[in-house]
Amino acid sequence: MRILPQPDNELIVISVLINGSTQYFEHPLSIADLIQKMELGGKRIALERNGEIVPRSQFNQQQIAHGDKLEIVVAVGGG
């Protein structure tokens, strides 16, 4: 017999593709939360969500949704 999760204790799993690798989160989170979790807080990054740039000023407001595709980039040496 299978026990179905009840709505009030349902374990929410959000799966997000970040820089080509799938990451799982148990709770809803904002982009700012995600950046902290990724230990990228305070670093100079740029972030694209589903093909659109998310300005840094919106990191606190925007919530990550299940199935989101994120690219997080930095500056590196190049010619």
Partner: protein, 261 residues
């Protein structure tokens, strides 16, 4: 020489040498080479961040602060207009709205030869979005003129293939480009050693952009200072106006009179 400055997109630069920041053994070598080159415009690449693996990894922008240098994000590794545009939109966000960029759209991974069709397409989009586009291209004078006409702020033809160190293989095409184009023309790619940079400048190019010639030298910091001198010397020789070449002159440099017999 004090008034001889390079103007790109309305901004004045004193150095005509632009350098890349790739292929160095570590950031301290990058920093030392960039400083020795005297360059004010420095190219950088945009890549995926490590996510959590290496939180204390130093950041290139801490070594080369945007307040001190004009950072020129590139689109190296992009093979389509869409990828190049996407990369530079991210770069603009990363650099707080900075709009001066280096566009390069490559044709194939062996030669890294530019794909001019995709380059023109990307340049149109970027110009329409307010980017100031310095564009890496082939040494085709017609394409160079088209890139200028659609609004690029500098035309940067290759001298030979990226990373080849083969020097200036077709000086005549560079001259055709310079005759047709009003915005600055900078040789980008192919310089191998100091004389190549000097020749580019003697031809009348407004500047030279290089990475591998410095980074792959046995002593990159010394080569960076050699390149600085070569670009300065080549520019001064261009401004001075060289003597014409002739097989012989029959006019000696020493007086013809007063000889002892």
């Amino acid at each position: 020489m004090t008034h001889d400055s390079l103007m790109i997109a309305g901004k004045t630069y004193h150095s005509r040498l632009l350098v890349g920041t790739g292929k160095y053994k570590d950031f301290s070598e990058t920093k030392a080479a960039v400083e020795a080159s005297g360059a004010e415009i420095i190219t950088i690449a945009i890549r995926r961040s490590n996510i959590g693996q290496n939180p204390n990894e130093p950041n290139l922008l801490e070594i080369l602060p945007p307040a001190k240098y004009t950072l020129l994000p590139n689109t190296a590794g992009c093979y389509s207009a869409d990828d190049a545009v996407r990369t530079l939109r991210l770069a603009r966000e990363l650099l707080d709205g900075h709009s001066l960029v280096k566009l390069e759209v490559l044709g194939d991974p062996q030669s890294l030869y530019p794909n001019v069709v995709e380059t023109i397409s990307a340049a149109k989009t970027l110009v329409s979005e307010g980017f100031q586009v310095m564009v890496y291209t082939s040494d085709d004078p017609i394409v160079a003129k088209q890139l200028e006409d659609l609004g690029c702020v500098a035309i940067m033809p290759l001298a030979s293939l990226i990373g080849s160190g083969m020097g200036i293989l077709n000086p005549w095409n560079l001259q055709l480009i310079m005759e047709r184009v009003r915005v600055p023309v900078l040789v980008d790619a192919g310089v191998g050693t100091a004389s190549d940079a000097a020749i580019a400048m003697e031809l009348g190019c407004h500047g030279v952009l290089m990475n591998t010639a410095i980074a792959a030298a046995k002593n990159p910091v010394l080569m960076a200072s050699a390149m600085k001198l070569a670009v300065e010397a080549g520019r001064a020789a261009y401004l001075a106006g060289r003597m014409p070449k002739k097989l012989y002159s029959a006019i000696p440099s020493s007086p013809t009179g007063g000889l002892i017999n």
